[in-house]
């Protein structure tokens, strides 16, 4: 049976567009699971995790890694396959009045390393946790923010690319111009934590 962290990572992969290995590689998965639990009323995250585990959500092919060059994923792992999400499953979650705002907060958490407070209407309808306030999870979380990776850059002040690297074309350009590629495939940025160093599960 899939444990809760695996479930959380698989859902996160569906929402963020980053492969489970990339998410685990940030070293932040467990921290974010705890932060999300703390920021939500009891049971809400489990509802979202269940919605992310529906058959349609798991139908993505396991070859959908968004990280070319990353090591092959462990065979048969329940983590495989979340990075090329079934858009319908995602849209179903996004369209849900209760789960949609939580899913968006989860994306922002991964992309920024910061929790973004849920809308007041949501809190009135479904309950409020005292930890549901805008906050950067930690100094490490900021540095692990995926928004920079998604832009082919690096967090301002961390995971820098080295002297003069700024003069070369960005990695995003090489992948975008490659014929036949669909979507945006970014090579791993130099300096990003490796899977072996960063994985915590």
């Amino acid at each position: 049976m899939e444990n809760r962290l695996d479930q959380f990572v698989r859902l996160s992969a569906l929402l963020t567009g980053f492969a489970p290995l990339h998410l685990l590689g940030t070293g932040m998965a467990e921290t974010y699971l705890r932060a999300t639990d703390a920021a939500l009323p009891d049971g809400v995250l489990d509802e979202l995790l269940d919605a992310g585990s529906l058959p349609s959500a798991g139908s993505a092919p396991p070859t959908g890694s968004a990280v070319p060059g990353a090591p092959a994923q462990p065979g048969g792992s329940a983590l495989a396959g979340g990075a090329d999400p079934d858009a319908a499953a995602g849209q179903a979650i996004f369209g849900d009045a209760k789960l949609g705002p939580v899913a968006r907060a989860l994306i922002l958490l991964w992309y920024r390393g910061a929790w973004t407070a849920l809308p007041q209407e949501w809190r009135s309808a479904y309950g409020a946790s005292p930890r549901d306030v805008d906050h950067v999870v930690s100094a490490e979380a900021y540095q692990a923010g995926l928004q920079w990776d998604a832009a082919g850059a690096h967090p301002a002040g961390a995971r820098q690319q080295g002297y003069g690297a700024w003069a070369s074309p960005p990695a995003a350009l090489e992948t975008e111009s490659a014929p036949g590629t669909t979507g945006v495939r970014l090579p791993r940025q130099a300096g990003a934590p490796s899977v072996t160093e960063g994985a915590r599960s």
Partner: protein, 635 residues
């Protein structure tokens, strides 16, 4: 060698705490310096190397700068929700710093004057300065442009501003000294424009920083662009900016001796910082100390053993001897705990006194002390560069958000005959995208996730397209001195220690707005040449919104504060002489941007550092003269 510590660069352990207010009060120093920023540090270094004793009175904390304080700044930055240019530095009500979000009008009717700068209007500036050991060089970006020769006599030449009592040639040797100390990376071949000269064979300490890929994309549209203005023809090109940031040392420096970059001065990251890594975080803090900050100079000064520092000590009064006009002491308020207004009051004494606390704080302290001023110019002629931002999306991925904050820009329009009508400017290409204007990348992420409801691969595709194509041009526009733009104090506005807060009255001169208007149109032409999609909007509700000739603009402050104690040729039309010595108090030097009669289109730090070196020689001479045994002639 595995562990090669260049010990001369390390901040001496315990040096910032070895003096107590009680010990300092019993001593008589050769020099008392208010402010541990770049000017104060250069003077402490130069004068202590010459054998004089000095004490620095610093408002901010600085007890552990040699060990973990720098790291604490960095951690605070990473964890801060709002990453403005003061984000790394702790909130300290006793030495409160202005923050860019503080720009709001304050009147006696406003319920509480909750911020440090009291804005008397009509324009509300979002200018800032940093009150920690190292001063604003902790957060500065590090651009190190020289002023143009024509910037030193704009009144005679163009009918705007004030003439300096010095010319480019007088300051040139001190520019070289400052370029050495600050560690400037640039190529002379790039900087020899609009009349700037260098001695034969001179090279900068380090090679120029490479232009970013974004600069190169912009250059494809800009290079060769022709501008005709008032009979002068300009062929624009993207040029690398001189930066006080460690690059590749030039082996030809100093007649072939080369240059040794100074990296981190704190022991925990001792092997870092000898070369920029492209953190894209110059402002508000370089994670590896590859960018110059005044702590590097201060460390040298402290190693002489002749410099004491008292931190958490906010200068509150300059004592003057009414008979002689000489300064007799600096009174300060020492707090133990930044969160409590409890303090003790102490006075330090010396032969020569130096106010080096920045243009706003120097004027504030002079005015709060009620010091007489023959010229009535203390606090007047406040200047700061006016920044106009214009931003667009390029038609292609340009790799934005990489590199130093800014590597290149347009500098041709800094000078020329058009300055009879409108201000000059330098244009920065921002490697950090639209961040300054819109809050990117967070604002973009929010728009895509919350607004467009994108997730997964669609989200990633939208984000790279939105971020990596961003182009922000920042026009750094000349602001000429106007006596009505000023710092004052008002007994109704005090900080928690009871010190009077600075009250700022400011309006953006029309001369600058004429430059802004021209810059706005130029940016539009550049966007057209690049096929870029303009996204510029200015909010009329912005406190920094101004209208000019039928259009509105948001004008940002540059934190290049100057003019509040201008130097000049006589005591009637200036506050200091060309040595930055007060005309009214012969043992008082007012140093920093405040002495600059104009700021042209140069970020002020390099020039004020050059002026500090120049003043150091005058102070040294004055001290030697005063220390010399009195000769009593027998009659």
């Amino acid at each position: 060698m595995a562990f090669d510590i260049d010990s001369s660069a390390i901040f001496p352990i315990g040096a910032a705490t070895r003096t107590t207010p009680q010990i300092a009060a019993r001593k008589s120093y050769d020099v008392v310096i208010v402010g541990g920023g770049v000017s104060g540090s250069i003077l402490a270094d130069q004068l202590s190397q010459a054998g004089h004793s000095a004490v620095i009175v610093e408002a901010g904390p600085g007890k552990d700068v040699q060990l973990d304080e720098y790291e604490a700044y960095l951690s605070r930055f990473y964890a801060a929700s709002v990453k403005d240019n003061q984000a790394p530095y702790p909130f300290n009500p006793n030495a409160r710093m202005p923050r860019s979000a503080d720009a709001m009008p304050v009147t006696p009717q406003t319920p509480d004057d909750q911020y440090y700068i009291v804005q008397d209007g009509p324009f509300c500036t979002d200018t800032t300065f940093t009150r920690v050991l190292g001063g604003t060089t902790m957060h500065w970006e590090g651009k190190a442009l020289r002023m143009l020769p024509e910037d030193f006599d704009t009144a005679s030449r163009f009918g705007h501003g004030r003439d300096w009592p010095l010319g480019y040639d007088d300051i040139e040797p001190y520019y070289r000294q400052a370029e050495q100390e600050l560690g400037v990376s640039a190529d002379v071949e790039d900087q020899r424009y609009l009349g700037m000269t260098f001695p034969p064979g001179y090279v900068y300490p380090m090679r120029k920083m490479p232009l970013s890929y974004l600069d190169q994309v912009v250059a494809r549209g800009v290079d060769g662009m022709r501008v005709d203005l008032d009979g002068d023809r300009y062929d624009l090109r993207i040029r690398s900016f001189p930066q006080a940031r460690n690059g590749v040392p030039n082996p030809d420096y100093d007649g072939g001796k080369g240059y040794q970059p100074i990296g981190a001065i704190s022991t925990y990251q001792v092997e870092e910082g000898k070369r920029c890594q492209g953190n894209n975080n110059c402002v508000p803090i370089c994670p590896v100390q590859a960018k110059y900050h005044a702590g590097k100079t201060l460390a040298k000064a402290l190693r002489t053993g002749k410099v004491d520092i008292v931190t958490q000590a906010v200068a509150s009064r300059v004592h003057v001897d009414k008979e002689s006009g000489r300064i007799s002491g600096i009174e300060y308020k020492r707090y133990q705990d930044p969160s409590s207004p409890e303090h003790t009051t102490h006075t330090v004494h010396g032969r020569v006194y130096v106010l080096a606390a920045n243009a706003i704080e120097n004027a504030r302290l002079m005015l709060a002390s009620g010091l007489p001023s023959t010229s009535d110019l203390v606090g007047r002629n406040l200047m700061d560069h006016a920044y106009l931002l214009r931003w667009a999306l390029l038609p292609e991925i340009a790799g934005t958000f990489r590199g130093t904050n800014c590597t290149g820009g347009i500098t041709e329009l800094r000078g020329g005959r058009f300055r009879e009508r409108q201000a000059g400017f330098a244009v920065d290409i921002h490697n950090d995208g639209w961040g300054w204007a819109t809050g990117s990348p967070y604002s973009d992420l929010l728009a895509i996730v919350d607004g467009q409801r994108k997730h997964g691969r669609d989200l990633r595709a939208a984000l790279v397209s939105q971020l990596s194509r961003q182009l922000l041009l920042a026009f750094m526009i000349e602001v000429a001195p106007e006596p009505a733009n000023r710092v004052t104090v008002d007994r109704r506005y005090r900080d928690p220690l009871g010190n009077l807060k600075p009250v700022i009255s400011f309006r953006v001169p029309e001369y600058s707005l004429a430059g802004a208007s021209f810059g706005f149109d130029l940016a539009g032409q550049i966007f057209t040449r690049l096929g870029a999609e303009d996204h510029t909007t200015y909010d009329p509700r912005d406190y920094s919104y101004v209208e000019y000739a039928g259009r509105g603009y948001s004008i940002r402050g540059g934190n290049h504060l100057a003019g509040t104690h201008v130097m000049g040729k006589t005591r009637h039309d200036s506050v200091t002489d060309p040595a930055q010595r007060s005309w009214d108090h012969e043992n008082l030097f007012l140093v920093g941007g405040g002495s600059m009669p104009t700021i042209g289109t140069s970020n002020i730090t390099l020039t004020l550092a050059a002026l500090a070196y120049r003043s150091a020689s005058f102070i040294d001479t004055q001290l030697r003269t005063e220390k010399a045994p009195a000769v009593i002639s027998a009659r």
